[in-house]
Amino acid sequence: MTAAHMDLRSLRRCRPPPTMQNVGRIRRSARDMGLSGPRSISPSVFQHEAGFFLLVRDSSTQSLTCQTDVPYAKHDMETWKEFEANELTHSAAHHLLAIHAVGSKYGGWARVSDIARQLDVTRGSVSINLRALKKRGWVNTDEHHMVALSPEGTKIVQVILAKRVVVKSFLVNVLGVPEPRAEIDSCKVEHLLSDESGHRLVQFMRFLSSDPITKKVLTRFRTFECECPDSRACDVCHGRCLMDELDRAI
């Protein structure tokens, strides 16, 4: 256990989260403690070999405190980090897909007006969004304002489309979700799903269709009706009934 780790362990747990005013001081203090705080995570979240820590300076007591709830923090902070590091926004993904769809009819090149129609947005909006895509090197434009995917952009589109198929296929063929719903849900997650999870989903689907026993399992699942025990405790939910919570969801 390092000295910095010892220091952190001795700090008490704190709330509420820091304000922007004390972030600079927290960062300096964290640096002194041997912690690194990548901007992409959050202004006051720092990474250490033991996990992620939320540091807060209390101006009334002039003390630095730290949330060391590592299991919770580690999972959530890593997700935030990945989410914020994800350069491909939903909007960017749709713009790339629209350029691909329109361009495939016209030798790879698309007009801004056609992209706007495809996405049902204004030309101005497309034009502004294209600036960001161009900056990242995902699209090219010519002197006539025509737009085409760069090799990098094409690669991204292929990956997105593959993930959409994987997720949709999983939702429809394994979970039995109706196709229109699966189409919408796969569209929502296609650009957020990691490559690793995508691979595992494909492997899982292949596993299910690999032999008669697993095929039987899938057939049984399709006729399975979930009945929660009165105690609301089962192996899946661990003390909280997820079915109840999902029923309450809007």
Partner: protein, 153 residues
């Protein structure tokens, strides 16, 4: 009679959305501006807000004259950090250029129409002038020159 105009009205609604969206963009850009020329630049975007709103209104009136009610469909979420005048102008140029292209694309469909042809030609002339003004300012590198020009005209 009203059904004959449906396609044209759809296109007019799109043009109105371009102008209304540009209005909101300029409105927000004004508050993102930073730098030494900020005050002069703010005035430029203030003018932009007024003009684009006037254009949207003019299009809405044309739609009403055709016996329809304008439909405004905009999907917009504006964020972004501080921006310098040159970058803001580059965004404005993109928006104006797209509006100009949209009017130009629409013109062939209203050639021969007693009112719309003249209206669209006038809009093309105005937008062409706007685009040229912005291009000139980008070249000159100062918003003050643009404001001088706008005040003179």
């Amino acid at each position: 009679m009203r059904h004959e105009h449906v396609d044209i009205v759809d296109e007019l609604n799109r043009l109105m959305a371009e102008e209304a969206e540009a209005c909101l963009r300029y409105f927000q850009l004004r508050y993102r501006l930073r730098g030494i020329d900020r005050h002069a630049a703010e005035e430029f975007f203030e003018n932009g807000v007024k003009e684009t709103l006037e254009h949207a209104e003019a299009i809405a009136n044309q739609i009403r004259a055709l016996g329809h009610i304008p439909r405004l469909r905009i999907e917009l979420s504006l964020g972004g950090g501080p921006i310098g005048f040159q970058d803001a102008l580059a965004e404005a140029l993109d928006v104006e250029q797209q509006a100009l292209d949209a009017y130009k694309d629409f013109l062939p469909r209203v050639v021969g129409h007693p009112v719309l042809e003249d209206f669209i030609r006038r809009q093309i002339a105005i937008e062409t002038e706007h685009v040229q003004e912005i291009v000139d300012t980008v070249r000159a590198g100062s918003p003050l020159k643009l404001l001088d020009k706008l005040n003179r005209s």
